[in-house]
Protein backbone atom coordinates (compact mmCIF):
# COMPACT_ATOMS: atom_id res chain seq x y z
CA UNK A 1 0.00 0.00 0.00
CA UNK A 2 1.44 3.35 -0.96
CA UNK A 3 1.50 6.28 1.39
CA UNK A 4 -1.20 8.83 0.82
CA UNK A 5 0.98 11.66 2.02
CA UNK A 6 4.65 11.68 1.16
CA UNK A 7 6.56 13.74 3.67
CA UNK A 8 10.08 12.52 3.09
CA UNK A 9 12.19 10.88 0.39
CA UNK A 10 14.21 7.81 1.24
CA UNK A 11 16.55 5.98 -1.08
CA UNK A 12 19.47 7.09 -3.21
CA UNK A 13 20.07 10.77 -3.68
CA UNK A 14 20.29 11.98 -7.29
CA UNK A 15 21.82 15.27 -6.12
CA UNK A 16 24.91 13.55 -4.79
CA UNK A 17 25.24 11.47 -7.95
CA UNK A 18 25.09 14.61 -10.07
CA UNK A 19 27.59 16.47 -7.87
CA UNK A 20 29.93 13.47 -7.95
CA UNK A 21 29.62 13.32 -11.74
CA UNK A 22 30.47 16.99 -12.00
CA UNK A 23 33.56 16.58 -9.85
CA UNK A 24 34.66 13.58 -11.93
CA UNK A 25 34.18 15.55 -15.14
CA UNK A 26 36.03 18.54 -13.74
CA UNK A 27 39.18 16.65 -12.75
CA UNK A 28 40.58 16.11 -16.27
CA UNK A 29 39.77 19.70 -17.29
CA UNK A 30 41.42 21.39 -14.31
CA UNK A 31 44.99 21.26 -15.72
CA UNK A 32 43.79 22.86 -18.95
CA UNK A 33 42.09 25.73 -17.09
CA UNK A 34 45.15 26.23 -14.92
CA UNK A 35 47.41 26.22 -17.96
CA UNK A 36 45.30 28.86 -19.72
CA UNK A 37 45.23 30.96 -16.58
CA UNK A 38 48.98 30.58 -16.16
CA UNK A 39 49.58 31.62 -19.75
CA UNK A 40 47.47 34.78 -19.39
CA UNK A 41 48.02 35.87 -15.78
CA UNK A 42 51.06 33.93 -14.62
CA UNK A 43 51.54 31.86 -11.49
CA UNK A 44 49.23 34.00 -9.36
CA UNK A 45 46.51 33.67 -11.97
CA UNK A 46 46.85 29.89 -12.00
CA UNK A 47 46.69 29.77 -8.20
CA UNK A 48 43.63 32.00 -8.18
CA UNK A 49 41.93 29.85 -10.81
CA UNK A 50 42.69 26.73 -8.80
CA UNK A 51 41.15 28.36 -5.75
CA UNK A 52 38.03 29.28 -7.75
CA UNK A 53 37.67 25.73 -9.11
CA UNK A 54 37.98 24.31 -5.60
CA UNK A 55 35.30 26.73 -4.39
CA UNK A 56 32.91 25.71 -7.16
CA UNK A 57 33.39 21.97 -6.56
CA UNK A 58 33.02 22.27 -2.79
CA UNK A 59 29.92 24.41 -3.35
CA UNK A 60 28.31 21.72 -5.53
CA UNK A 61 29.18 18.93 -3.10
CA UNK A 62 27.93 20.91 -0.11
CA UNK A 63 24.66 21.79 -1.85
CA UNK A 64 24.08 18.17 -2.81
CA UNK A 65 24.85 16.88 0.67
CA UNK A 66 22.53 19.44 2.25
CA UNK A 67 19.63 18.63 -0.08
CA UNK A 68 20.11 14.87 0.28
CA UNK A 69 20.24 15.11 4.06
CA UNK A 70 17.13 17.28 4.27
CA UNK A 71 15.12 15.16 1.80
CA UNK A 72 15.62 12.12 4.03
CA UNK A 73 14.03 14.02 6.93
CA UNK A 74 11.13 15.92 5.38
CA UNK A 75 10.04 17.82 2.30
CA UNK A 76 9.46 20.93 4.39
CA UNK A 77 13.06 20.79 5.55
CA UNK A 78 14.12 20.32 1.92
CA UNK A 79 12.48 23.65 1.09
CA UNK A 80 14.18 25.31 4.04
CA UNK A 81 17.53 23.72 3.25
CA UNK A 82 17.36 24.83 -0.37
CA UNK A 83 16.68 28.47 0.52
CA UNK A 84 18.82 28.59 3.64
CA UNK A 85 21.55 26.65 1.84
CA UNK A 86 21.56 29.22 -0.96
CA UNK A 87 22.09 31.99 1.58
CA UNK A 88 24.71 30.08 3.55
CA UNK A 89 26.66 28.99 0.49
CA UNK A 90 26.64 32.48 -0.98
CA UNK A 91 27.88 33.82 2.34
CA UNK A 92 30.59 31.14 2.53
CA UNK A 93 31.79 31.91 -1.00
CA UNK A 94 31.82 35.62 -0.17
CA UNK A 95 33.82 35.03 3.00
CA UNK A 96 36.19 32.62 1.23
CA UNK A 97 36.99 35.26 -1.38
CA UNK A 98 37.03 38.30 0.90
CA UNK A 99 39.45 36.54 3.25
CA UNK A 100 42.03 35.95 0.52
CA UNK A 101 41.45 39.04 -1.64
CA UNK A 102 44.48 40.87 -0.26
CA UNK A 103 46.80 37.87 -0.37
CA UNK A 104 49.84 38.19 -2.58
CA UNK A 105 48.93 35.20 -4.74
CA UNK A 106 45.37 36.31 -5.52
CA UNK A 107 44.41 37.89 -8.85
CA UNK A 108 40.76 38.87 -8.66
CA UNK A 109 40.04 38.90 -12.40
CA UNK A 110 41.05 35.27 -13.13
CA UNK A 111 39.46 34.19 -9.87
CA UNK A 112 36.12 35.74 -10.80
CA UNK A 113 36.19 34.61 -14.41
CA UNK A 114 37.10 31.03 -13.45
CA UNK A 115 34.39 30.97 -10.79
CA UNK A 116 31.67 31.81 -13.32
CA UNK A 117 33.00 29.77 -16.24
CA UNK A 118 33.62 26.64 -14.16
CA UNK A 119 30.22 26.82 -12.50
CA UNK A 120 28.30 27.33 -15.74
CA UNK A 121 30.52 25.04 -17.80
CA UNK A 122 30.16 22.08 -15.47
CA UNK A 123 26.41 22.62 -15.23
CA UNK A 124 25.92 22.77 -18.98
CA UNK A 125 28.11 19.71 -19.44
CA UNK A 126 26.12 17.79 -16.81
CA UNK A 127 22.78 18.96 -18.20
CA UNK A 128 23.70 17.40 -21.52
CA UNK A 129 24.04 13.98 -19.90
CA UNK A 130 21.03 14.37 -17.64
CA UNK A 131 18.85 15.42 -20.58
CA UNK A 132 19.89 12.28 -22.41
CA UNK A 133 19.21 10.04 -19.43
CA UNK A 134 15.78 11.61 -18.75
CA UNK A 135 14.75 11.42 -22.40
CA UNK A 136 12.04 9.10 -23.67
CA UNK A 137 13.74 5.76 -24.46
CA UNK A 138 13.09 6.12 -28.16
CA UNK A 139 14.83 9.49 -28.20
CA UNK A 140 17.95 8.44 -26.34
CA UNK A 141 21.14 8.61 -28.38
CA UNK A 142 22.55 5.25 -29.37
CA UNK A 143 26.19 4.29 -29.62
CA UNK A 144 25.88 2.40 -32.91
CA UNK A 145 27.10 4.41 -35.86
CA UNK A 146 26.75 1.84 -38.60
CA UNK A 147 23.65 1.15 -40.69
CA UNK A 148 20.73 -0.38 -38.84
CA UNK A 149 20.08 -4.10 -39.47
CA UNK A 150 16.96 -3.47 -41.56
CA UNK A 151 18.94 -1.25 -43.93
CA UNK A 152 21.60 -3.86 -44.53
CA UNK A 153 21.33 -5.87 -47.69
Amino acid sequence: MSDTFVTRLDGPSPEQEIAGDMVRRALPVIPLVLAISFAVWGVNGALSSGYAIALVLVNFLFAAALLAWSARISLALLMGAALGGFLVRLALISVAILVVKDAAWVELVPLGITLIITHLGLLIWETRYVSASLAFPGLKPTTSVGPSPENKR
Binding site: L9, P14, A63, A64, M79
Partner: protein
Protein backbone atom coordinates in the same frame (compact mmCIF):
# COMPACT_ATOMS: atom_id res chain seq x y z
CA UNK B 1 23.49 66.46 5.45
CA UNK B 2 24.52 69.57 3.56
CA UNK B 3 27.43 70.12 5.91
CA UNK B 4 28.41 66.49 5.47
CA UNK B 5 28.35 66.86 1.71
CA UNK B 6 30.48 70.00 1.92
CA UNK B 7 32.95 68.38 4.27
CA UNK B 8 33.46 65.32 2.14
CA UNK B 9 36.05 65.76 -0.56
CA UNK B 10 35.50 64.66 -4.12
CA UNK B 11 37.50 61.49 -3.62
CA UNK B 12 35.44 60.57 -0.59
CA UNK B 13 32.24 61.05 -2.52
CA UNK B 14 33.49 58.84 -5.34
CA UNK B 15 34.52 56.13 -2.87
CA UNK B 16 31.13 56.44 -1.17
CA UNK B 17 29.34 56.10 -4.49
CA UNK B 18 31.43 53.07 -5.46
CA UNK B 19 30.70 51.34 -2.17
CA UNK B 20 26.98 52.02 -2.43
CA UNK B 21 26.85 50.86 -6.06
CA UNK B 22 28.77 47.68 -5.35
CA UNK B 23 26.54 46.91 -2.39
CA UNK B 24 23.41 47.43 -4.47
CA UNK B 25 24.83 45.27 -7.27
CA UNK B 26 25.46 42.39 -4.89
CA UNK B 27 22.17 42.80 -3.01
CA UNK B 28 20.00 43.04 -6.10
CA UNK B 29 21.87 40.16 -7.73
CA UNK B 30 21.06 37.96 -4.74
CA UNK B 31 17.36 38.88 -4.49
CA UNK B 32 16.41 37.59 -7.95
CA UNK B 33 17.96 34.12 -7.56
CA UNK B 34 16.48 33.92 -4.05
CA UNK B 35 12.99 34.40 -5.44
CA UNK B 36 13.77 31.99 -8.29
CA UNK B 37 15.05 29.24 -6.03
CA UNK B 38 12.08 29.65 -3.70
CA UNK B 39 9.65 29.26 -6.59
CA UNK B 40 11.62 26.38 -8.13
CA UNK B 41 11.89 24.34 -4.95
CA UNK B 42 8.29 25.07 -3.96
CA UNK B 43 7.04 23.71 -7.27
CA UNK B 44 9.40 20.73 -7.04
CA UNK B 45 8.20 19.82 -3.54
CA UNK B 46 4.63 20.05 -4.75
CA UNK B 47 5.45 17.79 -7.70
CA UNK B 48 7.19 15.24 -5.45
CA UNK B 49 4.29 15.23 -2.99
CA UNK B 50 1.77 14.71 -5.77
CA UNK B 51 3.78 12.15 -7.70
CA UNK B 52 6.33 10.43 -5.45
CA UNK B 53 7.32 7.92 -8.13
CA UNK B 54 8.77 10.77 -10.19
CA UNK B 55 10.74 12.16 -7.26
CA UNK B 56 14.11 11.08 -8.68
CA UNK B 57 13.56 12.93 -11.93
CA UNK B 58 12.15 15.98 -10.13
CA UNK B 59 15.08 16.12 -7.73
CA UNK B 60 17.57 15.85 -10.58
CA UNK B 61 15.96 18.71 -12.44
CA UNK B 62 15.57 20.69 -9.20
CA UNK B 63 19.24 20.41 -8.31
CA UNK B 64 20.34 21.54 -11.74
CA UNK B 65 17.81 24.37 -11.64
CA UNK B 66 19.07 25.53 -8.27
CA UNK B 67 22.65 25.48 -9.52
CA UNK B 68 21.77 27.41 -12.69
CA UNK B 69 19.85 30.00 -10.69
CA UNK B 70 22.70 30.30 -8.24
CA UNK B 71 25.00 31.16 -11.13
CA UNK B 72 23.16 34.49 -11.42
CA UNK B 73 24.02 35.32 -7.82
CA UNK B 74 27.61 34.28 -8.43
CA UNK B 75 27.83 36.59 -11.42
CA UNK B 76 26.51 39.44 -9.25
CA UNK B 77 29.06 38.63 -6.59
CA UNK B 78 31.93 38.57 -9.05
CA UNK B 79 30.80 41.92 -10.47
CA UNK B 80 30.71 43.29 -6.91
CA UNK B 81 34.22 42.02 -6.19
CA UNK B 82 35.60 43.43 -9.42
CA UNK B 83 33.87 46.81 -8.96
CA UNK B 84 34.92 47.18 -5.37
CA UNK B 85 38.39 45.70 -5.20
CA UNK B 86 39.92 45.21 -8.66
Amino acid sequence: MELLAQAASGADQIAFGEAISAGFAYGLAAIGPGIGIGYLVGQSVQAMARQPEAAGMVRTTMFLGIAFTEALALIGFVVFILLKFA
